[in-house]
C-alpha cells in the first residue's frame, strides 16, 4: 500500500520520477523542435533565408551582457535577469550534492563549485527571482501582460532554489522532507519546461535564428 512515509516518498522521487522527468524534458524538447522545424517547411520564407553568419552574430550579441541596444536601455533589468539565468543554469549542474547523485547512480562525475559558491549563486538567484516578481507586479504594462501561469512558473523556479538551500542548511521543515519537496519541485520544473513559457530556453535559438536572418540578411538592419 502507498504510504506517505519518508522512505516511500524518497524512493519515488529518486527513482521513477527522475526518469519520467528527464524523459519528458528531453523528449519534449526534441519533439517540439522537430515539430516546429517540420512545420516551418510550410512557411516558405523560413528556410530560404536562414543565414548562419547572421544568426551567429545576433546570438552572440544577445548572449553577452549589454550586447544589444535593448539591454543597454534597461540596465537594471538586464543585470538582474542575467544573474537569475546564470544561477538557474549553473547551480544545478555544478552543485556538489547533485554531482554526488550522478556518481551514485551512473558513476559519472565532474568538477563542481565549492559549496560557498553554490550558496551565493542560489541566494542571488532567489533574490533576483523575487526582484523579477516585484517588477512584474509593480510595472503597469508588465502586470497587464502577466497571466497567472507566469506567476506560477516564476514561483516554481524560486521554490526549487528556496527548498534546495533550506534542505542544504537543514532548517525550517524536517531536512528529509525538504529534500523530497526540492526534488519533486525540480522534477515538475523539468517536466513543464518544454510545454510552457519556460520553453524559451530552447525556442530562443529558433526564433532568434529566423529573426536574425530576416533582419540582417533581408532587410540589412541590426536586430540587436
Amino acid at each position: 500500500m502507498f504510504s506517505f512515509d519518508y522512505e516511500t516518498l524518497y524512493t519515488i522521487v529518486r527513482g521513477p520520477l527522475v526518469w519520467v522527468s528527464f524523459i519528458a524534458f528531453l523528449g519534449g524538447i526534441v519533439y517540439k523542435i522537430l515539430y516546429l522545424s517540420l512545420k516551418a517547411k510550410k512557411d516558405k520564407i523560413i528556410y530560404t533565408y536562414l543565414n548562419f553568419k547572421c544568426i551567429l552574430r545576433s546570438i552572440i550579441h544577445w548572449l553577452c551582457p549589454y550586447g544589444s541596444l535593448s539591454m543597454r536601455r534597461h540596465p537594471w533589468f538586464t543585470f538582474v535577469s542575467f544573474i537569475f539565468h546564470i544561477g538557474i543554469i549553473l547551480t544545478p549542474i555544478f552543485f556538489l550534492g547533485h554531482i554526488e547523485l550522478w556518481e551514485e547512480s551512473w558513476g559519472i562525475s565532474w568538477k563542481g563549485f565549492p559549496n560557498f559558491i553554490s550558496d551565493i549563486l542560489t541566494i542571488t538567484t532567489i533574490i533576483c527571482g523575487i526582484l523579477l516578481l516585484i517588477r512584474r507586479l509593480s510595472l503597469k504594462h508588465v502586470r497587464f501582460l502577466t497571466t497567472s501561469k507566469d506567476y506560477a512558473l516564476l514561483l516554481l523556479v524560486i521554490g526549487v532554489f528556496l527548498t534546495g538551500i533550506l534542505a542544504h542548511y537543514q532548517v525550517v521543515l524536517d531536512y528529509r522532507y525538504m529534500v523530497v519537496l526540492h526534488m519533486l519541485l525540480g522534477e515538475i520544473m523539468l517536466i513543464v519546461i518544454p510545454f510552457t513559457r519556460l520553453g524559451h530556453m530552447f525556442l530562443f535559438w529558433l526564433t532568434r535564428a529566423h529573426t536574425a536572418s530576416e533582419f540582417q540578411g533581408v532587410r540589412h538592419s541590426k536586430d540587436y
Binding site: H141, R143, R197
Partner: protein, 270 residues
C-alpha cells in the same frame, strides 16, 4: 479586458460588413489563417513570449498614449491572437471589431518591437495575421478596402480606367509640346530599356509631378516606355489588408507587361 477603453468609432467598412457575418464564417476565416496559412512561426512566437514587457517602451503608440498598457505591443498580441487562441476561434462580432481596431489602427507593423525583443518575436507578423483574418472577412476600414477593391478591378489604387490613363498621358504630351518640340511619350513601345511604372496619385492628382518626370526622361534621351494597359501603377495597397491574392495579381501584372514589352528593367518612381 476591463482596461481596454476606447472611444467608439464607426466605420462603414467594419460595422456594415459585420452585419452580414455570423460566427460560423468568422470561425472558418480564423481556421484558414491560423491553422492552414501560418504554421511554425505563429506557434513558436506565441509560446516563446515570456511577457517581460521590454517591447512596450519601443512602441510609439504606447509612448504617445502616456504608457497606457493596452497599447503595448505584447498586450496588443495578447488581446488579439492570444484572445483568439484562448477562445479557440469561437469569437463574437464585437471581438472581431476590437481586433480590427487594434490591428488596423493601433499597430503600424513597423517591427521596432522586434528589434528590442530578446527572442526576436515578430509582433508585426502576429498582428498582420489579425489583419489577414479581418481582410478575409472583409472587415477593414473603408478607406483601405476601397483601395484594395480598386486594385482588384483596375490594377491601380484610384479607380482610374484604362481610357482615362491613355487620355492623361495624351494631354500631358500635349502640354509638354509647349516646351519640347514634337514631344512624344512612348507608350507600349516594345524592346525599350526601361519600363516606367508610376504612383497612382501621380496619374490622378499630381500630374505636374508626372509631367516633370517625363520631361526629364524625354530630354535625357533614355529609351523608356509606359504601359499601354492597366498595370501602370506600382502601388500595392492590398498589403494593408494582407490580401496576398490581390498582391500577387498586381505584381504579376507588372512582370507580364515587362515580358510582353521585352524591356530590360522596371523603374518605379518616388
Amino acid at each position: 479586458m476591463k482596461e481596454f477603453k476606447r472611444e467608439i468609432i464607426t466605420d462603414i467598412g467594419i460595422d456594415r460588413v459585420l452585419d452580414f457575418l455570423d460566427e460560423k464564417r468568422i470561425k472558418r476565416a480564423i481556421d484558414r489563417v491560423l491553422s492552414k496559412e501560418s504554421a511554425a512561426r505563429l506557434k513558436a512566437f506565441v509560446q516563446t513570449c515570456v511577457h517581460c514587457g521590454l517591447c512596450s517602451e519601443t512602441c510609439h503608440h504606447y509612448l504617445s498614449h502616456d504608457g497606457d498598457p493596452t497599447y503595448a505591443p505584447a498586450a496588443k498580441v495578447k488581446m488579439t491572437i492570444g484572445d483568439i487562441l484562448e477562445k479557440d476561434g469561437n469569437v463574437t462580432k464585437e471581438d472581431i471589431k476590437r481586433y480590427a481596431r487594434i490591428a488596423f489602427t493601433e499597430c503600424n507593423l513597423c517591427r521596432r518591437c522586434t528589434m528590442f525583443c530578446p527572442f526576436g518575436i515578430d509582433i508585426g507578423y502576429l498582428i498582420s495575421l489579425v489583419r489577414r483574418i479581418c481582410g478575409i472577412l472583409g472587415v477593414a476600414p473603408q478607406f483601405i478596402q476601397d483601395q484594395v477593391y480598386s486594385h482588384m478591378s483596375c490594377y491601380n489604387m484610384l479607380w482610374l480606367k484604362q481610357d482615362e490613363w491613355l487620355d492623361t498621358i495624351q494631354w500631358i504630351e500635349d502640354e509638354l509640346r509647349y516646351e519640347i518640340k514634337n514631344a512624344r511619350i512612348p507608350i507600349g513601345k516594345k524592346d525599350s530599356d526601361i519600363l516606367l511604372l508610376i504612383h497612382g496619385l501621380e496619374a490622378k492628382y499630381m500630374t505636374p509631378l508626372l509631367m516633370n518626370m517625363l520631361k526629364i526622361m524625354l530630354v535625357s534621351g533614355v529609351d523608356f516606355t509606359l504601359p499601354d494597359i492597366d498595370g501602370w501603377d506600382y502601388t500595392n495597397k492590398s498589403i494593408y489588408m494582407h490580401d496576398f491574392e490581390t498582391m500577387t495579381m498586381v505584381t504579376k501584372r507588372h512582370y507580364e507587361i515587362a515580358t510582353k514589352l521585352r524591356v530590360k528593367r522596371i523603374v518605379i518612381t518616388e
